[in-house]
């Protein structure tokens, strides 16, 4: 019997496996991952693990805790290097091939890197190993940590380092943090949050070059404005790119970066018959947002998409019911200092911002993002209950007036 093959053993991939099993599929499942160790749950890697509050073991993926029950042929340290959607053949890095009954692609994303060679002491943060390597350096008590990029991962690392009592400089090339996702007044909330917590925040400047000592260890950087900053540890947090390079010759449709990147899927997460994609690497028309094409790099989406892909796969091979189209309201959270930031939906820098609860000044608020007569997103800071209720409302309707009713009570 040909196996169902899941490429990527992280959140989306393992959610797919779990959902195939709970859907009653008892046949063979092969799971591949390039990583030599089982991938960890990533959110704690920039938070509790980096802070030293949790051992890395505690950050295991929830659905990987009952691995033996899932009964999979798990191949770690093996990458998929090619896929033929017509014959459902996968080529692997160990030279072997697998002929599959169906394939779930869940290869996620990888950190965007700085081109060229970098000195030692310069880190990215994606895996458990990355988190431990960075944590070891922080344990040595560097005089200053430099964070390049004020996206969510950079911001969380800056906050965690401050929590450990370290001096931090954060450099962001845009004038306002999160400029690509948030309107300016809210982006400046993020900058102020970090400044108020003692971070030296520099906006509108980029990295020019690294300074290193004779042993090749980083000693600081020169910025595009000519400033030199001494730092013994540097974290690069300039975003992620979907990991689809191995599919370039597969014939599957890949989207260019200006269209959001990733694998082009239909509303059921199908890239081709019996070939599905889920998680950070998948782009699909989201029914909750008028069919707008989205690729979401967020935990909850990866879990939901993986779960859907598992059900969809059983339908594709005639072993389950049609789960229908996949739609969701993206949901993201980030913990920085004492701010619990949660966002539902998809904001655009051009949206009108309405603070409907609390105030930005007191650091507890809900902001809604209006475009035309629609509410496109809700951002909550230290307002978890309202933020999640806003998410539920968006799932029901995008109508602006209905959302306002929620806050009028």
């Amino acid at each position: 019997m040909k196996p169902l093959v899941v490429v990527g053993a992280s959140l989306a991939g393992m959610s797919a496996v779990q959902s195939m099993r709970s859907g009653g599929y008892a046949g063979p499942v092969v799971v591949l991952d390039s990583s030599p160790e089982m991938p960890h749950d990533r959110p704690p890697l920039s938070k509790q693990v980096l802070a030293g509050e949790w051992d890395l073991d505690r950050a295991g993926l929830p659905m990987a805790r009952n691995m033996s029950e899932l009964d999979v042929d798990l191949r770690l340290g093996v990458s998929a290097v090619g896929l033929d959607p017509d014959s459902l053949q996968l080529s692997l890095s160990d030279g072997s091939t697998i002929s599959a009954a169906g394939i779930v692609i869940a290869t996620g994303s990888v950190p965007r890197q700085i081109p060229g060679e970098v000195p030692s002491g310069v880190f990215v943060l994606r895996t458990g190993a990355d988190s431990l390597a960075l944590r070891d350096e922080l344990d040595r008590g560097p005089e200053r940590v430099l964070v390049i990029g004020a996206g969510f991962i950079g911001a969380e690392v800056a906050a965690t380092c401050r929590g450990r009592g370290l001096e931090v400089t954060m450099v962001e090339a845009t004038e306002v943090p999160l400029q690509r996702v948030l309107p300016a007044d809210l982006g400046s909330f993020v900058a102020d949050l970090h400044r108020n917590n003692g971070v030296d925040v520099r906006l509108g400047v980029g990295l020019d070059s690294f300074l290193a000592d004779a042993s090749g260890a980083v000693r600081g950087v020169t910025l595009t404005d000519g400033c030199e900053i001494a730092a013994q540890v540097v974290l690069i947090g300039i975003g992620a790119v979907p990991e689809v390079s191995w599919l370039e010759d597969s014939g599957l449709a890949l989207l260019p970066p200006q269209e959001g990147g990733g694998i082009r899927c239909d509303e059921s997460l199908r890239a081709a018959p019996k070939v599905l994609a889920a998680g950070d690497c998948a782009s699909w028309p989201n029914g909750s947002f008028n069919g707008e094409r989205m690729r979401v790099e967020q935990w909850e989406s990866a879990l939901e998409q993986g779960t859907h892909a598992g059900k969809q796969m059983l339908f594709e091979i005639g072993a389950g019911e049609d789960p229908g189209a996949f739609s969701t309201v993206p949901w993201f959270w980030s913990d920085q200092y004492d701010a619990k930031i949660q966002m539902a939906g998809r904001a655009d820098p051009g949206d009108e911002v309405h603070v409907v609860d609390g105030s930005v000044a007191e650091g507890r608020f809900v902001a809604l993002f209006k475009r035309g007569d629609e509410c496109r997103a809700a951002l909550g800071v230290n307002r978890p209950r309202l933020a999640i209720r806003a998410r539920m409302k968006l799932a029901e309707t995008l109508a602006w007036d209905s959302m306002l009713e929620l806050f009028d009570q």
């Binding site: 709970s22 805790r65 909850e300 949660q342 978890p384 998410r391």
Partner: protein, 64 residues
Amino acid sequence: MKIKYDRDLCQGHNRCYLLAPELFDVDDDGYAVLLVDGEVPADLQEKANLAADNCPEYAITLVE
């Protein structure tokens, strides 16, 4: 059927509230709050199952 909720395991994903608002609420810190004390009413047992199955942290368990 009774619901056991372990706040130490809860990471505040709030999937339980999303799926079973009759059984769970969210507190000011974003963690789940169990709304029923003791036996789960018969018409909510299905939802209790749904919440338990969907809590990624296994913070919700059901005891017969």
